[in-house]
């Protein structure tokens, strides 16, 4: 076995025992440079690439639909997990506003989100129409939990403010119907 100091090429292609290409390290035509690992049928399994838009690792399974992507682009680093239809179902990223985790339903609607923004950390749960139905947050005034109705209006709030903690139940119009302490 010989060892060479350097081999320069446009593309390095790994072939299996049947001489089928299964991986390639190269500069792809009209595209980014990178490494692609392929399944036996030739469809991509993993792509590690650096291009104009950014760099990233994309994982596929069986079909050509990207299922998982870890990338860094101009907006920041991020991870997305998709379902078999290519719909993003979970994402974790660091955006300009702050870090964010979002979980989505099969229609792509965010149903749960945790993010940290200037005002503080915030957990929100949404219904299928995107209305906030539950929120737990810590802001300058103190921590609080709110539950909302189908219109996204708060109907119950449990807060620990600077002066006194309290629980308030509200009607449809936001008017207090019960509170403690009174």
């Amino acid at each position: 076995m010989t060892t060479e100091k350097e081999i320069r090429a446009n593309r390095f292609t790994l072939v299996d025992e049947n001489d089928k290409p299964r991986a390639a390290l190269g500069v792809f035509k009209d595209g980014p440079g990178g490494l692609v690992l392929s399944y036996e049928k030739g469809n991509p399994g993993a792509l590690l690439a650096v291009g104009k838009a950014g760099s990233g690792l994309t994982l596929f399974y069986e079909n050509d639909t990207a299922r998982t992507r870890l990338a860094v682009d101009k907006d920041g680093p991020g991870l997305t997990l998709g379902d078999e239809n290519g719909q993003i179902r979970a994402s974790l990223g660091v955006e300009k506003a702050g870090p964010k985790l979002a979980l989505c339903d099969e229609n792509g609607q965010i149903r749960a989100r945790i993010h940290v923004i200037r005002e503080g950390p915030d957990l929100a749960q949404f219904d299928e129409k995107g209305k906030v139905r539950a929120g737990l947050r810590v802001i300058k005034e103190g921590p609080g939990l709110t539950l909302g109705n189908e219109n996204g209006r708060p109907r119950a709030a449990l807060v620990a403010g600077k002066d006194v903690p309290g629980l308030v139940l509200l009607d449809e119009n936001g008017k207090s119907i019960w509170s403690a302490p009174r």
């Binding site: 081999i7 190269g26 690992l37 909302g148 509200l170």
Partner: protein, 223 residues
Amino acid sequence: MTTEERVENLERDLARAKRRNYRFMAVLGLAVGLFALGWYFTGREVKEVRASKFILVDENSKTRASLGMLGDGPALLLLDKKGKSRAWLTASKDVTALRLFDENEKFCAQLAVDKDDQSLGLWNPNGKTGTVLGVSGGAPGLTLVDENGKLRAGLIVNKYGSVLDLYDEKGKSRAGLSVNENGSGLGLRDEKEKPRAWLTVFKDGPGLSLLDKNGKPIWSAPR
């Protein structure tokens, strides 16, 4: 100097010149040969190199990376100076994954896709404490596991809605914040997972209920 002597001198000069020329040609030939050899090994630039395995070695000829077939799929393997596996990128029939290992080759991170699931998993070196962000069976979720391998927190979205659950050291759900088709609510449960306090917003309005250990309301508001 006689004519014979002059001819002899000329012949000697000619012989010396020939020897110098031979040496020059030999040196030139050697230089060209070395250049060609160097170009072949270091400057060679070809369109494509095909092989059944590529190995990258460091200055001590230790393998630091390899690209080859592993089982039924291709794999890129990166190794540290001690020869320990630190990163794998594989695409096999069962799973496509990036796996990262610590300096003791303990598995500590994985980004993976298989037939039903896709996930990012992070674990500490004991292999138990960790967190997984994934989509399993069509339901995305984030889970946190303690040092005994027990699930302690989970945020899940499923076909019914979403739920944030917190678990005790025995794995019992003790607090949950949920949103489903009936409404939204915060529930606190005892060590037997029986609800003891509910703050809810249903279609008929908000409510707070405190319950005994049998699940019977002992106090409620607003009525």
